[in-house]
């Protein structure tokens, strides 16, 4: 049961963590994140970095789609813009790592604003189609602007260097990628405690009354696009340093759908949602791979026979969540919390 949570100040009442249980969990999470690289093997560390990159991008998409209500299928293309920006800056100008990552976000944000311009006039499915069109145009640019993007063969990226240390292994990169993602998630959580975050939600829920309240729609929709693509650009920049090669096929259109699915499975319009969703979408296929391996001794040809089944199971899991928990994984967490808040009085 949750007791002793009375607040004496408004600051305490509007804090991000309002109970001691939440604070304890957050400390445990921080410890796990710090200790994980010393425990996990290279393969799981690689997956951990990938999850962190995907969380950053999904959090960005959630600001745009979950909170502002503008459906976008261009997140992968914005990530690609960030990745190419890093590749270009690192290869041609040799600017430092953190600056490149930040610049990747800014370049992607600028492209995002351009793509977002139609959003004042078109909404819903029509806007989704407009962002698809934009991502195909960007794909065309990536394959044809050979002097910058290297065309179909792409560009290589040198290992990142920070304070003279070469960040080549997932172990080293983990200590950069995870903090950057954590800061970005914290930024998003802060945003929705202020007037700007509230304005985004107002536009999602009822744009006409938002305008009457003095919220300029175009300015805020473009701001949401810029912020969302900034997150994608930074994620793409980290991706470029992680995989060290960027080609037009690095960010296929299916990746945009992957992120939209991650946000929906995790829970639209929640901070926790994209974190859980991105982890789910990244890790479940890998876990299913293990399941198939364990079945190997039982079914001699398991590898060949079951790998298509793996994809089907993954798809079925997503459908299962959409049908039985349309509010996403975040809602399951909220329900568990509510159970413990009220226990033992009401279950």
């Amino acid at each position: 049961m949750r007791i002793a949570t009375a607040k004496e100040t408004y600051v305490a009442d509007e804090g991000l963590l309002t109970t001691n249980t939440q604070r304890a969990w957050m400390i445990i999470l921080a410890l796990v994140l710090v200790l994980a690289p010393f425990v996990l093997n290279a393969y799981w560390l690689y997956l951990a970095c990938l999850v962190a990159i995907n969380v950053a991008s999904a959090t960005g998409l959630n600001i745009l789609t979950g909170y502002t209500g503008l459906v976008s299928l261009g997140q992968a293309a914005f990530m690609a813009v960030g990745a190419y920006a890093v590749a270009f800056l690192d290869g041609h100008l040799g600017t430092p790592f953190l600056l490149n990552i930040f610049a990747a976000g800014l370049v992607a944000a600028a492209v995002g604003v351009l793509v977002g311009v139609p959003s004042l006039r078109v909404k819903g499915l029509y806007l989704a189609i407009a962002t698809i069109a934009a991502s195909f145009i960007l794909h065309f640019v990536f394959t044809h602007w050979v002097s910058v993007t290297g065309g179909m063969s792409g560009v290589n990226v040198a290992p990142a260097r920070l304070f003279g240390i070469e960040l080549a292994s997932p172990f080293a990169l983990y200590f950069v990628i995870v903090p950057i993602t954590a800061v970005m998630v914290l930024g998003a959580a802060n945003l929705f405690r202020t007037r700007i975050g509230r304005a985004f939600i107002a536009i999602r829920d009822r744009d006409i009354s938002a305008e009457v309240l003095g919220i300029p729609l175009l300015q805020y929709k473009l701001m949401s696009f810029a912020l969302s693509s900034f997150y994608a650009g930074v994620a793409g920049g980290m991706w470029a340093y992680f995989f060290r090669v960027v080609t037009p096929e690095s960010f296929p259109f299916a990746t945009s759908i992957f992120f939209l699915a991650a946000v929906i499975v995790g829970g639209l319009g929640t901070i926790l949602g994209p974190i859980l969703g991105a982890a789910f979408m990244t890790l479940v296929p890998e876990l299913l791979k293990y399941v198939v391996e364990w079945l190997g001794p039982v079914f001699p040809n398991a590898g060949a026979a079951l790998s298509p089944v793996r994809t089907i199971v993954f798809g079925a899991l997503i459908v299962f969540f959409l049908v039985f928990e349309p509010q996403g994984l975040a809602e399951i967490v909220r329900r568990i919390r509510r159970f413990f808040h009220l226990w033992p009085f009401k279950t």
């Binding site: 408004y10 509007e14 930024g187 802060n190 405690r193 007037r195 009354s209 009457v212």
Partner: protein
Amino acid sequence: MTRPAPGTLAPAHLAVSGLSLSFGGLKALTDVSFEVRPGTITALIGPNGAGKTSLFNCISGFYRPREGHIRLDGQDITHTHPPARARAGLARTFQNIALFKGMTVLDNIKLGRHAHMRTNLLQALAYWSAARREEMELRAEVERQIIDFLEIDHIRNKPVASLSYGLQKRVELARALAMRPRLLMLDEPVAGMNREETEDMARFILDVKEEWGISILMVEHDMGMVMDISDHVVVLNFGKVIAQGPPAQVQGDPQVAAAYLGSGNPAELMRRLSAIGEAA
């Protein structure tokens, strides 16, 4: 409980002159002129389709009138965008409740103050001292001036979608008050309410007028309430002003009776109105 000190929100003077609006060949408003004098309640009445909501939408900036002017304290706002009108001190509620369903009561009310706040995107992401201070000032002010005043402290953290109709209307009024309006526009504030809710709302509207000292313009069908609380009544029919003046004078106007009943007998109108009042 502290309220805004008298005079901090100077009541606005609204002057509508020669306003005409048409949709294609349909004339929604023809040469409409009236005033809302500072610190008074002006009611806009008329049969369905008379153009009341069109007029409201012109004043709040959704429709562009073909001719005429809307002036707030002498300043022409006919062609400004809704956000600019919000900053000038215009706030409104909607006939069909237009709250943000996914948010709590508190967040809905806070949104009303949006145009008066300064926090920019970077400050918001970092929740820096300036952003935090502004949010906390807002919270304290909303709690003291609005939540206490409208007696909604027990529901402040509830999602709006879970509230009764009457409470939602009250939250919408709270959000409009958070805009620090100098002219408050209420579109059917008591439509669909039972008698008790209607009386509560009438009391709150009178309190807003008395304690906040702002000007109020409302559209309302509940004649009992209109006649009770308004200082000035404007009657619209087929997009034209057919009568205006103090409630008692408008009640006795044969043209008003004709608009509502199809016959020009004010006594008949009064008899029917009181019958409706007793039935309700």
